[in-house]
Symmetry: C2
Subunit: 469 residues, 2 copies
């Protein structure tokens, strides 16, 4: 149990039930069930930057690990309590300080919910791009920590493409300011870029400056069903070659469609092998684009194409996609996965996942952001079945290996967290792990920042029993 | 004089005249004329990656500084020979390995000329965005080193927004691979982003993977003359707020217009205080956009607006902008500057520069990428006049200070090089300089990589007489 200076003591969560809710994130339960909720950890709900500074002074002085935390939507165990740590929650740093249409920037706290930034931008006729599926709950701080993506990355890129400057509190309490509020700036190493995606291993982000763009039109949608996966992939390739990039291009494979139809009738034909959803938000041309996308998909062999003529119809077409996550969770326990492969290898990945599913006897619906090659297989198994759980984790390993063998990466947009640490090392190699630890040590010499995620370093490397994968 | 292993010896330039051409870049002559061309340096023209590896093995083993070099278009002394160094030129690594329309990437060597990558992309119906004014000569490797911008950044961003993966040879000869060829990927720290803009201080880039986008339309142009700078700045602000971002938005101030008109009659009225050039390349809407931009500028108080109805007219309107650099160089010796300020402070910067010009008795035409707040003042003084040269450097300091005082940065897109090292430190502060040196040391523990630029480190910090600012 950590004892803080009085200024911070009042931010410490004392109610055990409340405290427990801050111990977990949205990642899977640990691979080894014995490694469960830690017995000793402290939760601090920071109210302002001074709290963050005080905690990081204290943590550095006492060598206490710090796990920075926003809305705990991490899918990879990036924001969960570890033994002896301080969970430092910054959700309350949720000010939208500035939305500046002339400079085209917003300045926000890390606790601002992604959708709230979008809403604030929209009120000024502007647009903030990144839209993780958890947009209504996830926070910008977490988006920065994981370099979050979402559904519209195909056209609008990921969080790193939008963030231009940060305030970051480092271990010991130094406030580091990176980047520029100007449109351009090249003064030395790009530490903003280094911090985005660093998963809380370097410091705690307390202020974020993002770009904002002129708002696009509301999106319209085309939906196509395919009798063959190869036809669907051919359609994805054709859509990638269109002169006007879709703002969304999602795929659901056969297992995903089965999961959705088992949940309720969303109108997917029983013989469909895959569904594609495509959107355009191009000002003045959304209807024309989705009509053309529809024709392109027909040309690629779609069984059936539905094109929304207005916003309501567009929403209807998305319903099946929207319930997918709930439908999958209704099937059992779930490992929600996230790989990215070259677009040309999408078919190989989906087929490979089906083969793994068959061989290991776990369901693996695959869906995701086909336009980016970023797929989210879900490995589903009966809760409480230890053998099935082991097979599910075996499938997890195979899905990682499959992604790498196709020239892909083990983490498209969720990050590495604690869950994928071993696969991170497999992807980048031991020299790179060492290099990234050495860079971490520049910011965090005693290795207290989120030490059990990504590449470890500091205490992580030497503490027994601290690995969760 | 360095002695290399035989494999590299044949790449060493022995002709003294040829060698001298590799000693300089496009930056200004050193501030102190006594610090001129170094007496001892070696030039290696690498033919392949193996040459780069061999040079960096040798350099590490012997503690010899290495200055990586492309087409030597650096405006800030980022690629010039220093005492005792190896100049490592990689212009010959100029293969365009891949242009892949499906994945939307190109894979190129660092010696590929910016315009050649654009041409190769265009041949596949695609587009590579960054377009420094030196597009016809500058190389992608140098663009990566400086995170180069250009004229279309307002709409298309800078080099960092396009580069997704790199091969980099580190001191000692290790080949480091960063980033992803997939559309997304978040595996640990973003070392691609760290390398872009690192000005050759970490390693030598030997392969670059960039994004490519569907090609826009050929751009059309509107040109407006303004009787008052404030009106011109108001027009810039109005254009920034337009729903369709211009692909180019350039300003020329009164002193720039005078320089152009002294060079030849390009039709600028004598009473103009500023000219704005605006382009649109929006597919199917370029003519409509530039007509609207013209109306917006009229509304903001333009004296006169010309709108090009076709490509030929658009080119004509750009002529005055195109000769600006030549016209300025015809006036005398030149310090070509590069600051970026908030768009709302453009007027304050241009007025401040005019005040410095008046007070110090040097001409300072200001032009640049108004849409980004990225201005290029040119400080012009009579060649051979030592007193004027000193006043010019005094003006340089004042222009840096002015940019910082307006919330701007001392380097918008040219980088720090050796010329702005002191101002880099002034902008970011001593702790940040130390931090960046510590990060450099992770890649370059003996401090041999371009040690006299940006933040120094390694030998630079202790060698006397090696500072050129």
């Amino acid at each position: 149990m950590t004892t803080f200076p009085p200024s911070v003591q009042s931010r410490v969560v004392t109610d055990e039930d409340v405290k427990r809710t801050y111990a977990a994130d949205a990642g899977p339960a640990p691979r080894e069930p014995s490694r469960d909720v830690p017995s000793d950890y402290t939760v601090v709900r920071a109210r302002d930057v001074a709290d963050v500074v005080a905690v990081l002074e204290h943590a550095q002085a006492t060598g206490t690990p710090v796990v920075p935390q926003g809305a705990r939507t991490s899918r990879v165990g990036g924001a969960r309590a570890t033994e002896g740590c301080i969970v430092l929650n910054v959700e309350a740093l949720d000010a939208i300080e500035t939305v500046d249409p002339v400079e085209g920037i917003a300045v926000v706290g890390p606790g601002v919910v992604n959708a709230d930034l979008k809403t604030a931008a929209a009120a000024a006729g502007l647009f903030y791009g990144p839209d993780p599926a958890s947009t209504g709950t996830c926070t910008i701080g977490g988006n920065v920590a994981t370099n979050a993506g979402g559904l519209c990355c195909l056209k609008y890129g990921v969080t790193a493409d939008w963030v231009t400057a940060l305030d970051v509190v480092l271990p010991g309490g130094e406030v580091m300011r990176t980047g520029h509020r100007t449109a351009k700036g090249v003064t030395g190493l790009d530490l903003t870029g280094l911090l985005v995606g660093s998963e809380g291993t370097l410091g705690v982000v307390t202020r974020v400056v993002t770009r904002l763009l002129p708002a696009p039109d509301p999106a319209l949608t085309a939906l196509a069903t395919f009798g063959s996966l190869d036809d669907a992939v051919r359609a994805v390739v054709t859509l990638r070659l269109d002169r006007h990039r879709p703002s969304l291009l999602e795929i659901l494979d056969r297992a995903s469609l089965e999961a959705v139809q088992a949940f309720g009738d969303y109108g997917f034909p029983a013989d469909a092998d895959a569904v594609l959803l495509v959107q355009s938000d191009r000002p003045g041309h959304a209807a024309e684009d989705v009509a053309r996308y529809g024709e392109l998909m027909t040309g690629a062999g779609a069984l059936e194409v539905a094109v929304a003529e207005d916003r309501q119809e567009a929403d209807l077409l998305l319903q099946g996609r929207r319930v997918l996550s709930t439908a999958i969770e209704a099937l059992g326990s779930r490992l929600a996965e996230d790989v990215c492969v070259p677009v040309g290898r999408l078919g190989d990945y989906v087929r490979g996942a089906a083969e793994v599913s068959e061989r290991l006897g776990v369901r693996i619906p695959v869906s995701g952001h086909a336009g980016d090659g970023n797929l989210h297989p879900s490995i589903v198994y009966p809760p409480g079945d230890d053998d099935a759980r082991r097979r599910a984790w075996g499938a997890f390993d195979e899905l990682m290996r499959l992604g790498l063998s196709l020239g892909g990466t083990v983490a498209g947009e969720h990050g590495i967290g604690s869950v994928k640490r071993r696969w991170f090392a497999a992807e980048v190699g031991p020299r790179e792990v060492q290099r990234q630890r050495a860079i971490k040590a520049v910011f965090d010499p005693s290795g207290i920042m989120n030490p059990e995620v990504v590449f470890g370093g500091g205490r992580w490397a030497t503490r027994p029993g601290s690995t969760s994968t």
